[in-house]
Symmetry: C2
Subunit: 299 residues, 2 copies
């Protein structure tokens, strides 16, 4: 099933009869507000870990209609560990980060014995709708990997390819971004982009077509690529934009969101299941979409 | 006079009785097409350097109404040098790049004896309209300076401050961008951003208020800054976004243009006069705006 746009994903999530999402440290009004909305929309079912009294108080005070089971786990680290155990044991489909430190949340997920570690780094993907809303474009990494080297970029790309395949893109096209389309040793990101292209050509990166270096305009717009005389299977037609580093990914995704007024869905990938990991500054709609995405993707 | 938005700039350029713009290597149909439109709109007057026969042929064949003087200068380097001499001698207000290599064009401008060199590097600014179209925002550098060090960033900022002041922003507010708002030695752009802030506080960078590191969302949106608890005179109110490097500037400006569908005006600054230096992939409207900008700014 090819997921065409955000509305389509929303409908697919509502139809899905999946396992519950375990919310770690849900004893917070903003988190419970999102859970309340997600339940009302039928996007997913939840189990909430946190201080049970606090959760009950907030739910009563705010008039939330939350039906999810509440588990008393006031300690953040223990709540994270318990939620991971629930996923490992099949009692939950995936995890959602509530009001706790990112490092505490990730530490439980990445625990080598009891966690959801796959050996790959945890990376981030921002999804947006393509121009004609007839397809999704994945931007990665916009939030987690600061300055990946070549093999780090390979992992980021592989995580995004797996996500794209989960969304029905059997052999996604990936543009390795730089600021120019030629190899220039003075611009190290052009070197990495060219190497990733050849690694895909040689089968070292599987299930995708990679081309780079490409500048943003050539990756995004077939017309811009044509004017520049770029012959590429990816230019103007990219499913994945691989960012050269976090600074680029962060600024580009924020520019698209704040200047371009486009919704982006954040996904956190690389663990055994995609987890829900929203920024506080994310819009309610963005947070609901990322819950829909996780519910759709996990068993 | 505070230039409020692109329409305002357009009107100011039409009212301006300035010197002609000398177009270097104008013997090209795309370049002459833009000149024809700019003349028809009354945005500027021109003098065209290039192969005179070729220019006449194109003008006749395309039915252009161009009234500009044609100077026979078929050699690119000589045309660039002659155009610079015209600006130095007061016969032209500034230069516009036609169909020649960027390096040939810039070499003539930066010639130490006969050029328009100020001792500063030539840098690029992309202008966009603020959200409410009641002000301009300058993004720099999005096209020229690949990996500036601290002092290079200081020059880029100073060039942008001069441009902002030419547009009526007496003491522009500049955000030094990074991907986070805290100083982190593992993210060198956060260190440079903090140092630029302190350099402005100490009067080493004049005529502006600088704050950084700021992430794009905090620089652009007062609401995002408030949610993050950032107290800053610049957050949510920036006139200048100083990019950490070209890769960020290039990708952010292209994302705003291609995804956000916003017009950007490209300006090339750091020489004695702002010059017109458009990319081939720029829209006609964008090219006309950059002519309007140059005509408005030069004497």
């Amino acid at each position: 099933m090819l997921v065409k746009n955000f509305d389509h994903l929303w409908e697919l999530a509502k139809e899905k009869q999946g396992k519950r999402i375990a919310v770690v440290s849900a004893d917070d009004v903003e988190i419970l507000h999102i859970i309340d909305m997600a339940e009302a929309e039928g996007l997913a079912e939840f189990v909430l870990l946190g201080d049970a009294d606090t959760m009950r108080e907030i739910i009563a005070k705010e008039g939330f209609k939350i039906k999810a089971e509440l588990l008393h786990q006031p300690d953040h680290a223990q709540a994270a560990q318990k939620a991971v155990e629930m996923v490992v044991g099949g009692e939950a489909g995936t995890l959602m980060k509530g009001m706790l430190h990112s490092s505490t949340f990730l530490k439980a997920i990445l625990n080598k014995e009891k966690g959801l570690n796959t050996g790959r780094h945890i990376t981030q993907v921002s999804l947006m709708e393509k121009e004609d809303a007839d397809g999704l474009m994945l931007l990665t990494d916009c939030a987690i990997s600061v300055a990946p080297d070549l093999m780090g970029k390979k992992e980021i790309l592989e995580n995004a390819v797996d996500l794209a395949r989960g969304l029905g893109y059997e052999k996604p096209k990936a543009a390795a971004l730089a600021s120019v389309e030629v190899v220039n040793p003075a611009m190290p990101e052009t070197v990495d982009a060219a190497l990733l292209t050849m690694m895909a050509n040689r089968g070292q990166i599987k299930n995708c077509i990679v081309d780079g270096p490409l500048a943003f305009d050539n990756a995004y717009s077939a017309e811009a690529a044509r004017i520049k005389g770029i012959d590429s299977p990816v230019a103007g037609n990219a499913d994945i934009l691989l960012m050269p580093n976090l600074t680029v990914g962060n600024a580009v995704s924020k520019a698209i969101s704040y200047v371009g007024k486009k919704n982006l869905i954040a996904a956190t990938v690389g663990a055994r299941v995609p987890v829900v990991f929203n920024s506080r500054t994310e819009t309610d709609k963005g947070k609901l979409y990322s819950i829909a995405l996780a519910n759709y993707l996990v068993d």
